[in-house]
Symmetry: C2
Subunit: 332 residues, 2 copies
C-alpha cells in the first residue's frame, strides 16, 4: 500500500468537484494530472484551483505556499497522457451512465494495470458503470462531500466484482491525503451520506407541509441544535453521551417514541436489542462507558471551542445577503 500512497494521481473531469479533488491530492504531495475534454474548462480550472488555494492559505489551512501546491497539478487535454503514470484515477465526469461507462472503458484501456479507478459519483453505483471491463476488479466509487477539501468524508462503495485490495489501496491513499474514507458493504441508493441527508430532508419537508414549523425555523433548529453536536459527534456517539446509560438506556426509554414518529411516516423499523447491543459495543470502542462523565466533559469542551471560534471569526458571523436584509440574523 506504500506505493498507492505515493502514487501519481489523475483527476478526470475539471468541473468544481474535479478542481477540488486536484487540490486535495496536490495538497497531500501527489503529482496530479487534471484532464478535461473541454480545453476552455481546463484553462478555467487552473485559475479556480489557484483561487481555492489562496482561500485556504488565507484561512491558515495550507502548510506550503499555494504556488508550490499548484505546481504539482498539470492540466492535460489528452486522456492517455493524463493517466499515463497514474496509480490512482479519480473520475469526476457528469452523472450520466452511458458517458461514465464509455469513460471507464477508456480508462481501463489506457491506465496502467495497477492503477485504481475511482468514480466520484453520488448516484451511479460502480456495478452499473464498470461491469464487464477486464479491469472491473480495480474499479469502485469514492464519493466525496462538497467541497472535498473542506468535508473530509469519502464513501468507498465497491461493487461485488471489486477486489478487496482495490478498496484497501483507495482507503490508504485517501487517508494519507487527510481524508476520512469509510466503507460501504453493499451498494445502496444514496450511499450513507445522502441517506442521512435524505432522512432529514424528508422529515423537514413533512414538518413544513403539515404546518408544524416555518422552513427558516427548521434551518435554525439544525444550525443551533443538532448540527453543532454532529460536527463533533456522530448520531450514535451523540446519543451515547447525551443519556446516562448511553445508547442502551436511550433505546429502552425513547425507542418506542422514535418508533411512533417513524410510524407516522410509514416506517416501522424497531431497534431490536441485538441491533442496539451491536451499535452500543461499536460506539464504546471510542467512548468507553466507564469514562462516560469524562467524555461528556470532553464533548462540552469541544462545543465550547467551536463556540469560541464562532465568536472570534468574522467568517462565521453572517452570510452575504441582499440589500435591506438583516445580515443573516435568524431570531425566531
Amino acid at each position: 500500500m506504500g506505493d498507492a500512497v505515493r502514487a501519481d494521481v489523475a483527476v478526470v473531469g475539471a468541473g468544481s468537484i474535479g478542481v477540488a479533488w486536484a487540490l486535495v491530492f496536490a495538497r497531500a504531495g501527489h503529482a496530479v494530472s487534471l484532464y478535461d475534454p473541454d480545453r476552455g474548462r481546463l484553462e478555467a480550472a487552473v485559475g479556480e484551483l489557484a483561487s481555492r488555494l489562496a482561500d485556504l492559505a488565507a484561512a491558515g489551512l495550507l502548510d506550503e505556499p499555494p504556488a508550490r501546491v499548484a505546481s504539482r497539478v498539470s492540466a492535460r487535454p489528452e486522456l492517455a497522457e493524463a493517466v499515463a503514470t497514474a496509480g490512482y484515477v479519480q473520475e469526476c465526469a457528469p452523472e450520466e451512465r452511458e458517458l461514465k461507462r464509455q469513460l471507464f472503458a477508456r480508462l481501463d484501456a489506457l491506465a496502467d494495470g495497477g492503477a485504481v479507478l475511482a468514480s466520484s459519483s453520488s448516484a451511479l453505483p460502480i456495478s452499473q458503470v464498470a461491469d464487464g471491463l477486464s479491469g472491473e476488479a480495480r474499479c469502485l466509487v469514492a464519493h466525496p462531500g462538497n467541497p472535498p477539501y473542506l468535508l473530509p468524508v469519502v464513501e468507498l462503495v465497491p461493487a461485488p466484482f471489486t477486489a478487496e485490495e482495490t478498496v484497501a489501496r483507495a482507503s490508504a491513499l485517501l487517508a494519507a491525503a487527510g481524508m476520512s474514507p469509510i466503507r460501504l458493504h453493499r451498494e445502496v441508493e444514496g450511499f450513507v451520506f445522502n441517506r442521512l441527508q435524505g432522512a432529514v430532508l424528508r422529515e423537514a419537508y413533512c414538518l413544513v407541509r403539515d404546518g408544524v414549523v416555518a422552513p427558516e425555523d427548521v434551518d435554525t433548529v439544525m444550525r443551533d441544535g443538532p448540527g453543532r453536536r454532529w460536527s463533533v459527534l456522530g448520531p450514535f456517539e451523540t446519543i451515547e453521551l447525551n443519556t446516562r446509560g448511553g445508547i442502551d438506556a436511550h433505546a429502552e426509554r425513547l425507542g418506542p417514541a422514535y418508533r411512533r414518529m417513524g410510524n407516522e411516516r410509514g416506517q416501522d423499523d424497531p431497534w431490536t436489542p441485538e441491533l442496539v447491543a451491536r451499535v452500543s459495543a461499536a460506539v464504546q470502542r471510542r467512548f468507553p462507558r466507564r469514562r462516560w462523565q469524562e467524555n461528556v466533559e470532553w464533548r462540552d469542551r469541544a462545543l465550547m471551542a467551536l463556540e469560541a471560534c464562532r465568536r472570534t471569526s468574522a467568517a462565521l458571523a453572517a452570510p452575504a445577503t441582499g440589500e435591506g436584509d438583516e445580515g443573516g440574523s435568524t431570531g425566531a
Copy 2:
C-alpha cells in the same frame, strides 16, 4: 416585552438541565432563583454551576467574572419563595406527567399572574400538563438542547390554549438571553429537534441492521460530512447552496431519488412543487438566489474558519478514551 426581557427568573428543578438554564439566565443578567425540593441536590447544583461557569470562562466564553454571574443565582428550598418575584419560570422537573401537572398547578397558584410558565419537557406537550389551570394561557413548552448554554436552540411549543402574548414574551426573553427560540405551530411528538434527530437515527439503525455500513462509519460520515455543514447551514440552506439552481433544481433532479429512498423505509411523502416553492422562497430570504455564488463562497469561508479552529484547538483533538485506545482516531 421590555419587562419580560428584564424579568426575574425562577428555574424549578436543579438537575443538569436546571443548572444549565440557571447559567443561561444569570449570564444574561437576570436575577435567578433556583429551586429544588431536595436540599442536597440544591447544594450540589450550586457547585455544578460554579464548575460550568469556570469551564466557560476558561474557554473565553464569559464576558464577566464567573463569581459575578454566580452571584445572581439564589438557591431556594421553598417554591413560593423561588417564584415570588419571577416574571418567567422555567420548569425542569423529571419527565413524569402527574408530577408536572401537580407542579404546574402549584406554579400557577404561587407565581405572579403576569409570569410566563415554561416547561423544559422534550416529551410532554403543555396541553397534557397545564390544561384546565386558570392560568393555562400563560403556559407553554420551551424545550432546549443539551446543554442549553452551548446549543442555543429553544423550541417554543404552545398548546391551543396558550396565549399568543405568552409565546411572544418567552421568545423575546430567550432571544435577549442569547438563545435561538423557534416556534412550533402544532404540538407534535418529538417537536422538531428530536424529529430531525430521530429521522437520522432511524436511517442509521437501518443501515447498520442491513449490513450496509459499520456503526462507527455512520458516525464518521456525519462528523466529517453533513454535520460540519449543518453546524453552519440548516438542511434547506445546505441544499440551496449545494446545487446551482438551489432548492428548486435539487427537488426536480434529485426529488425522485429521495422519494425512492423514503419508499424503501415505508414513507411516501413527495415534495410537491407548491411545497418546494414555499421552502425555496423562505430560504432565499436569507440567501437570495442572485447572490448564490457569493453565498457559496461565504459557506466555504465559514467551513474554513471551523477547520482552522479544529486544527488549533486541543479541545477538538481527541476524546478521553480507555487504555490501549488510539486517542480517538477513526480512520476507516
